[in-house]
């Protein structure tokens, strides 16, 4: 049938990657997050656009992007499809994963829902395996407060060792701080060193072994470990993504 890949991946992909920086003053920021965490609201609040936000999972199926200026830079914000994980079990997850890994955004914001943080942390941990430049945005702090849920943002930042910002995007609180942090991370003023997942010993052994086999092809140590992990967990889509984004003829676009 050739249906899913044609329509979903290919087109979606060219869409995602066709971001052209017009000058060096522009930085690309990816916006990831579980469905229904107010990701689109954060997107709208930052960019001043009015992408429709609906209270149901799976709302953002296409990729929206918008700009905003902060200090002396222009930020191109890419709203990735809402996903629960990056294990590529759906087209959306594959799009989000490939963009963060191969699109090399200058920073990635993971929007989470303060009222059900645990579920959202799965995605945060997975994004942290893909890139160093992660900022966790704990959104819906107002709703959490109403529900009497307290989130220790400093503690979370300590646990993950990445910047954590609390926001209530609908009311506009915390956005300034978020933009400041995005600025600092994408400019390299803050260099997060995420506390990465450690797996059981036997898995770690195999990860190391696999890494040594493929290290000649992959310079970036973060991507190296992540690729080894994907090869180990038998991800069928990863070969396709490698073909598409890492082959020599693609180098010009991947390396910025």
């Amino acid at each position: 049938m050739g249906f899913t890949r044609q329509a979903g991946t290919k087109e979606g992909m060219t869409d995602v990657f066709s971001i052209e920086k017009t000058s060096l003053d522009e930085l690309v920021i990816a916006l990831a997050g579980n469905p229904n965490t107010g990701k689109s609201t954060v997107f709208n609040a930052l960019t001043g656009l009015h992408q429709h936000t609906g209270n149901w999972p799976g709302k953002t199926v296409a990729n929206a992007r918008g700009n905003y200026r902060h200090k002396d830079k222009t930020f191109i914000l890419v709203d990735l499809p809402g996903t629960y994980s990056l294990l590529a079990s759906s087209v959306e997850e594959q799009i989000a994963r490939d963009f963060i890994c191969f699109g090399k955004p200058d920073a990635t914001i993971v929007v989470t829902d303060a009222t059900c943080l645990e579920r959202n942390l799965n995605l945060v941990l997975q994004v942290m395996e893909l890139t160093n430049n992660v900022i966790v945005c704990v959104n819906l702090m107002d709703e959490a407060k109403r529900k009497n849920i307290e989130v220790d943002l400093k503690g979370l930042s300590r646990e993950l060792s990445v910047p954590v910002i609390g926001t209530a995007a609908r009311e506009g609180t915390g956005l300034k701080e978020l933009m400041d942090t995005v600025y600092d991370v994408s400019m390299g003023i803050i260099k997060p060193v995420p506390k990465r997942m450690e797996y059981e010993e036997d898995i770690e052994e195999i990860i190391k072994d696999t890494m040594s086999k493929i290290e000649q092809y992959v310079k970036d140590p973060v991507v190296l470990r992540w690729l080894a992990l994907r090869l180990i967990d038998g991800d069928k889509t990863i070969i396709d993504s490698i073909k598409e984004y890492m082959m020599a003829d693609w180098e010009g676009r991947g390396d910025t």
């Binding site: 249906f3 209270n55 296409a62 109403r146 797996y199 992959v218």
Partner: protein
């Protein structure tokens, strides 16, 4: 990123294969489990949940709204209330806007007269172009300005996933994906949007089913037509007090029929062209949220109402001019429109309609919004002037041209079931990337519409 050549790639493929052979797929589960455990640990350290009250309230509401007994009836009741508000609320403003716009038409006519413009120019611009525009705006704007904010409100509250939850087992029975209920809901807004929303369905088979059947729920281009005809012919048949209620129930009935046909066609497709079993999915019921009134009004008025109306006007105005021209160029004592309608008459009659109606549906292919205006234009193409006084005038025009209750019913059925509009078909072509499925997406609904109207008409004529 460092470079990788084809030998590097084959190396990696080899490594991946040998890992798979050596260890099977045991690691994926363990890796995922480790991540979940870590997420749990971190959350335990940083989250302090002092109350479960709101959750309990949500759960109590959900126990009723998604219960097996009350879920679907409540949903239909809600739908009926929404239509009722739309019908009652739209009537008066519609009349007001109509009067105003047709007052302008008279002034335009005066202007053309004073300038000594030739009558064909007045005809094309005022009677064709402007009058259709006035029709579309006055008939469509008020219902949309009421319906969309309510629909967006329900969406913002978090009711849509509950609808999906309620309908899930029905779709499962039809061997389709439960999320199709969600894409179907989007179809109520716009079928093209509904088709795009089908991307949330992972399995290609079930996604195709959802795309091919999305058209069976009326989009907002067709709602005004359905609402107008329902309130004239069905609501108008009973005492004025009950009119809007009966008319809303009729529209609800049509929606139920649309859903039933969606399920039936989905079932037939999965037994024939798209064989397979439904796949599992997890549907998250999001918390109910306090709606953001400002955003709802913005979204529903700007993004939806103005967008849809703009599209309708952009298509309708030239179509109106074209219809006027076709209606006023005579070949052998008959206008071109009359020739075409005459040609379609036998088929139209067999389906309980007439040639003009079928032609309006065909000319309405670019956008379903303009079917009714085009029909009125072609009925009135001889140029007879009619003063606008709300839906009453519409009824008079239709009845004068031989409409009966059977005609009204068939027009509503045909409108509900017929081929998708141009935009939707174009979207389907883009989403499926397949010519074959695009053609089928037009053929299947058309066949269903023809069969249903034919049967209804023949059965009705027996009595």
């Amino acid at each position: 990123m460092s470079s990788m050549d084809s030998s590097g790639l084959s190396d990696i493929i080899f490594i991946s294969k040998s890992i798979k052979e050596q260890y099977g797929s045991e690691f994926r589960d363990r890796i995922v489990k480790s991540i979940y455990n870590r997420a749990g640990e971190v959350a335990k350290k940083v989250v302090k949940n002092n109350s479960e009250k709101k959750k309990d309230a949500d759960k109590k509401i959900d126990d009723i709204l998604t219960s097996k007994t009350f879920g679907i009836p409540l949903m239909l009741l809600l739908l009926a209330v929404v239509f009722w508000i739309t019908l009652v609320g739209a009537n008066y403003p519609s009349e007001l806007i109509g009067k105003f716009l047709f007052w302008i038409q008279d002034r335009l006519t005066d202007l053309f007269m004073n300038m000594g413009a030739p009558s064909w120019l007045h005809g094309v611009i005022v009677l064709g172009f402007y009058r259709t525009l006035a029709w579309v705006v006055s008939v469509m704007l008020p219902p949309m300005a009421i319906f969309f904010p309510i629909f967006t409100l329900l969406e913002d509250l978090g009711y849509l996933p509950r609808i999906a939850f309620n309908l899930d087992h029905l779709f499962k029975k039809a061997c389709a994906h439960g999320k199709q209920a969600l894409t179907m809901c989007m179809g109520f807004g716009c079928n093209a949007a509904g088709v795009i929303a089908c991307r949330i369905i992972e399995s290609p088979r079930e996604r195709l089913i959802a795309i091919l059947t999305n058209n069976f729920v009326p989009c907002n281009g067709r709602f005004p037509t359905l609402i107008a005809i329902a309130s004239i012919f069905i609501g108008g048949a009973v005492a004025p007090v009950y009119g809007p209620i009966i008319a809303s129930l009729a529209v609800v009935g049509l929606v139920i029929l649309g859903i039933a046909i969606t399920l039936l066609v989905s079932y037939l497709l999965s037994k024939t062209l798209l064989k397979g079993v439904p796949s599992f999915f997890i549907l998250e019921l999001p918390p109910y949220r306090k709606p953001q009134v400002g955003r709802i009004i913005y979204t529903s008025i700007i993004d939806r109402t103005i967008f849809v109306l703009g599209r309708a006007v952009a298509v309708a105005a030239p179509a109106g001019a074209l219809t006027y021209i076709l209606g006023n160029i005579y070949i052998n004592d008959m206008s071109i429109i009359a020739h075409a309608a005459h040609f379609l008459q036998p088929l139209g009659h067999a389906l309980g309609m007439d040639g003009f109606i079928l032609m309006a549906f065909i000319l309405g292919f670019p956008a379903n919004e303009i079917v009714l205006p085009i029909l009125i234009m072609s009925y009135l193409s001889a140029g007879s002037m009619v003063d606008f006084n709300g839906l009453g005038m519409l009824k008079k025009i239709l009845v004068d041209h031989g409409w009966t209750y059977l005609t009204a019913l068939n027009v509503m059925l045909f409108s509900l079931l017929h081929f998708p509009c141009g935009t939707t078909i174009w979207t389907i072509r883009k989403e499926t990337g397949s010519f074959k499925w695009t053609v089928l997406s037009a053929l299947i609904p058309t066949a269903v519409a023809v069969i249903v109207c034919f049967i209804v008409t023949q059965v009705a004529r027996m009595f």
